[in-house]
Amino acid sequence: MSLTDLEAEASVPPASEVPGGRAIEGRSPWQLAWARLRKDRAAMISLVVIILLVVMALMAPLISKWVGYAPDFGDRKFGQTEDGLPVGLTGHHFLGTDRFGRDILVRSVYGARVSLLVGLVSTALAVIFGVIIGASAGFYGGAIDTILARFMDVTLSFPYLLFALALAAAFGASTPLTIFVITFFSFASIGRIVRGQVLQIKEREFIEAAKSLGAGSVRTMFVDVIPNLVAPVTVLGSMTIPTAIIFESTLSFLGAGSDPRTPTWGNMLSDATQSYTVAWWTLFIPAALLLITTLAFNILGDAVRDALDPRSERLFAAQKANRKKK
């Protein structure tokens, strides 16, 4: 084809090449989001806190060896006062002991393992099931949608705490059961939001464009729908983790989570109800850890949402809000 004239006429380089124009690099939406996230100081501190927690949890056996106490056994020598009370923050026990003379530092780092494991695994499972069910409901519509949407509604209307206590009573409290319970009660709320997102994405013109090119529905789902879900699902996931961690601690505290002998923050809090009047640290340390962890995840989740939602859109929203004030 001889299209020289045509090409010459048509070729208009992008603004990035206009002399004096701002150079725009070929950055993906993810790179842009990461750049924005990096500027957010609170988010970066939270990220460091989370990394430290993970490292601490991974190194739990090492820490246990280093301080010389196991998580499950009381220290007969220095673990209790002569009256059988927990000891405070001493050279032997940096964070004191509980009423059985067990080292709180060691129990806390082992507790972090359970909390993070349950938080991450159940969130991951909830996201997987939520996306599959929500996306199928939204994408296929019709009877499939009706059945799946009702199923999620039913799940959400379960009295989850009673259900969890009943299961624990029937099968015996254990960590896998906790994960199952948390997943079961988190996936539906994720699924509902994903379904709504898919319904919105389905109305976008690029889906029509794919259809007009002859793309099949499976391809459209994986190429055009799912990638657009990644951002909202990332946000949802990062918001679900702290909820799951608290949920786990709540169940442990009530004795319906992990085996009451396992060191978890919830079990530690539960134990502390017996001793906090004489030993404040038994309550304070697991509570502080729980607070720091959930706070860090929440701040990070918030920041991730902001980073994935470009500023221009928010600016625009602010303008609109302003107009309405009129």
């Binding site: 090409e7 992008p14 070929g26 007009s212 002859g214």
Partner: protein, 356 residues
């Protein structure tokens, strides 16, 4: 009439209704939107047919019926000798190679999470035509053809301006060398100076590649500029269909006259000279369209007959064979509609100014 082999698409009495459903589990139809209500139209090879009309007139729905995005309710669409109206799913795939669409919204019609190379290369993937390096080469050729820098293959849509994104959409539509491109308001979301760039590009591509366009727009001057023939739609029906210049110079349907007189003119003297036919009221709902001639509640020339009998789209007295008008009382050459107001069943939207 021209020979049948000339005709690329024949739209024969096509209807498209959208049911409105209510109910939570057991949905039942409570009404239907008469989006396209008996449209017949022929598109000849190599020509540009413009479809104009206001929002809700069914022009975009018609476009989606032609491209197979909406299955039609009733009627027949013949594309290149093949009846496609009853094809579904896989059987439509070859048809999707020959008919492409360019969309209105340069922001919405490109998936923001995918790179431009992947977007333009989609048609090659879907139809299994090229992959790997071959696909990349052909995508870059297309990018060059529509005036994009091929080095921007790996960029994301957000990094392009509106006009450039529309070029990406055009490149995607050209990938499979289609016979027909349906353009749904391709320039109405663009700035004026960029509109002209895209219009020129579309015209050049047509000359080079021998494309046939169905060009849908609400901007009359753009349609006049690109189209060989123009069809004016009102509430799901074609009101008038004629060669471009003929329609603009000698409109016979009162709605066409009103639409033409309402178009903005970037020339103060001409704008002051022309007499606007200000139609009363709004376009009625396509859920319960008016009886008889759809335009009668707003028509300055309406008579009793118009309320009861829907006019056929036929050649009216004194017109050439290709000028079809659906009106019982077509506009005469020297007639001035600006001074008349709707005669029948009108709800006046005349301002009631305080008596000064």
């Amino acid at each position: 009439m021209s020979q049948e082999s000339d005709v690329l698409v024949e739209i024969d009495d096509v209807y498209k209704y959208f049911p409105i459903k209510q109910g939570i589990i057991f949905k039942r139809e409570i009404a239907r939107v008469h989006a396209v209500d008996g449209v017949s139209l022929k598109v000849r090879r190599g020509e540009t047919i413009g479809i104009v009309g206001e929002s809700g007139c069914g022009k975009s729905t018609l476009a989606r019926c032609i491209t197979g995005l909406h299955p039609i309710t009733k009627g027949r669409i013949v594309f290149d000798g093949q009846d496609i109206s009853n094809l579904r799913g896989r059987a439509l795939k070859p048809f999707h190679r020959d008919v492409q669409m360019i969309f209105q919204d340069p922001y919405g019609s490109l998936n923001p999470r995918r790179r431009v190379g992947a977007i333009i290369g989609d048609p090659f993937d879907i139809h299994g035509i090229a992959s790997g390096a071959e696909r990349k080469r052909r995508v870059q050729e297309l990018m060059e053809l529509v005036g994009l820098n091929p080095e921007h293959y790996n960029r994301f849509p957000a990094e392009f301006s509106g006009g450039q994104r529309q070029r990406i959409g055009i490149a995607r539509a050209l990938a499979l060398k289609p016979k027909l491109i349906v353009c749904d308001e391709p320039v109405s979301a663009l700035d004026v100076s960029i509109q002209a760039q895209v219009i020129n590009l579309l015209k050049d591509l047509q000359d080079e590649l021998g494309l046939t366009y169905v060009f849908i727009a609400h901007d009359l001057s753009v349609v006049r500029y690109v189209s060989d023939r123009v069809a004016v739609m009102y509430l799901g029906k074609i009101a008038e269909n004629a060669d471009g210049e003929e329609l603009y110079e000698n409109p016979r349907h009162p709605y066409t006259s009103a639409l033409l007189s309402a178009a903005s003119i970037a020339d103060p003297d001409a704008a002051e000279r022309r007499e606007r036919i200000v139609l009363s009221g709004d376009v009625p709902s396509p859920i319960r369209p008016p009886s008889g001639c759809r335009f009668h509640p707003r028509c300055p020339k309406a008579q009793e007959n118009c309320v009861d009998v829907a006019p056929d789209l036929i050649v009216r007295g004194g017109d050439t064979a290709s000028h079809l008008t659906a009106c019982h009382y077509p506009v005469e050459a020297a007639e001035n509609l600006a001074v008349e107001t709707a005669a029948i069943e009108q709800l006046s939207t005349e301002p009631t100014l305080p008596s000064a």
